[in-house]
Symmetry: C2
Subunit: 278 residues, 2 copies
């Protein structure tokens, strides 16, 4: 069986940047998991004494707080800045952007529609910048019956699929006079999605690697599954099962934006072992 | 055979308004055909001495110039206003709107994409208000290879189909960071299109009435033809053919926004005659 990596996968610019910031900070705490990858978070803890807190209320006498790639709410940021702790911002610049757009549009009198998961920290952060109406939706039908201004600004969670974003925009075009669309889906997301689409059309088994709570990884997995029914989403090599690869010709590999290369390498090594032993 | 009129058809607000303006003006000239219907233009000429000029260069010693529903270019309007002639503006307010948006967006640094027919007077007028880049397209592919700003405003000819407008917006979402969409397709267009769609699904012969140079009529005809292959586009009763109705059960009728009721009535009468004589 051949193993092929997608032409684009894994760590994006914002994640690489955040990890470098955390490694340099040392002895710091992060507000929420800095990236959605437990193994990498454990590594940062072991090697750099960077600990993960659930929220700002857990801060005690720590000296340095790192803001996670997904950002935090405007309120939490203000609290941190008022306190004595040193704030180190590792928010991905591609997440800072929709936060700024949300605030600006909201102040300019637009209702803001955010395409994303309301429980995801990125979206909680982005929404917190609205000063008036902001609606978080995953489906355009969630806006049925919602009273909207005739001026609506639309932004997307950075890791969403653009096709669904278009459907929401098209729906809004029929409902309001002005739809101001900011395509805030990040390029890394596009590239990883394009690459997994291409590879999953050719592969007869696909392994997508990433955190189970990682939005962009889930999107990669869904795309993969669409074209290759034998697709598996795993966090690390412990979850691999030799039976998945029996009788297969091409195993495709992709990984979410918060998956470090060392995890991917461990997985590739183990799959190769399966094949050699069979 | 039963004859059924679409639930919405014919004269729109802007056309009704323009005809009233022309009837009240009397002894005036219009710059280009005031609406796209030759029979109605002849009636205004005969009954109210309102004459149609091709352009402002044909003006001689006339006292009053009426601006057509589709509007004219910013340059022509300025020329008229500088001259001694009294300018009476019958531009449909739904056309004035995209003219204003085009000017404002263009001044605010947006490239403007206009979905429409570059040879149509409405679009010539709208485009003339741009102070920088403005691209008139009927297909998104016409923008392939065109260098665009990262901020694009999009407007539509008032009489276009919204599905294609959406395709152009979706294309732009993939190319630039901000797409500012103004849905300038007028409601009358939507309503007439919805109604012809519904009726043509049930009818086995459709007659769509309107000027051959009328954009909104052409759209109605295309929708009708999609669902009812035996669809005919005519300007008046002289073009009717008895054979179209032989063996048919339901004849649907729709008419463009510039088709007066008296023409529609003549056509319905003649079709009824066919049926009674057969």
């Amino acid at each position: 069986m051949k193993i092929e990596l997608a032409s684009s996968y894994g760590f994006c610019f914002g994640v690489k940047r955040a990890i470098k910031i955390a490694e340099n900070a040392k002895d710091a705490v992060t507000i929420g998991p800095i990236i959605h990858n437990n193994d990498e978070i454990n590594r940062l803890n072991l090697n750099f004494n960077v600990k993960t807190l659930e929220g700002i209320e857990e801060i005690k006498d720590e000296k340095k707080a790192i803001i996670r790639t997904h950002g935090i709410t405007k309120g939490d940021l203000a609290e941190l800045q008022k306190s004595d702790i040193k704030v180190i911002d590792a928010t991905c610049p591609f997440v800072t952007k929709p936060q700024q757009i949300c605030e600006k549009m909201s102040k300019d009198g637009y209702d803001v529609v955010i395409f994303g998961d309301e429980n995801h920290p990125e979206i909680k952060g982005v929404k917190s910048y609205a000063v008036a109406n902001a609606f978080v939706v995953l489906e355009e039908s969630e806006l049925d019956g919602v009273k909207l201004s005739q001026k609506v600004a639309v932004i997307s969670q950075t890791t969403r699929k653009v096709e669904k974003f278009m459907q929401i925009v098209n729906y809004l075009m029929l409902r309001v006079k002005e739809v101001r669309v900011f395509n805030t889906i990040c390029n890394a997301t596009f590239e990883n999605q394009d690459a997994v689409r291409e590879l999953s059309k050719r592969a007869d088994v696909m392994v997508v690697i990433g955190g189970k709570n990682s939005s962009n990884t889930k999107q990669l997995y869904l795309i993969s599954k669409e074209f290759c029914p034998d697709s598996y989403l795993i966090e690390n090599e412990a979850e691999l099962n030799a039976a998945w690869f029996e009788g297969k010709n091409l195993c495709g590999i992709s990984a979410g934006a918060s998956t470090p290369d060392w995890i991917i390498q461990n997985i590739v090594d183990k799959i190769e072992n399966f094949t050699q032993n069979s």
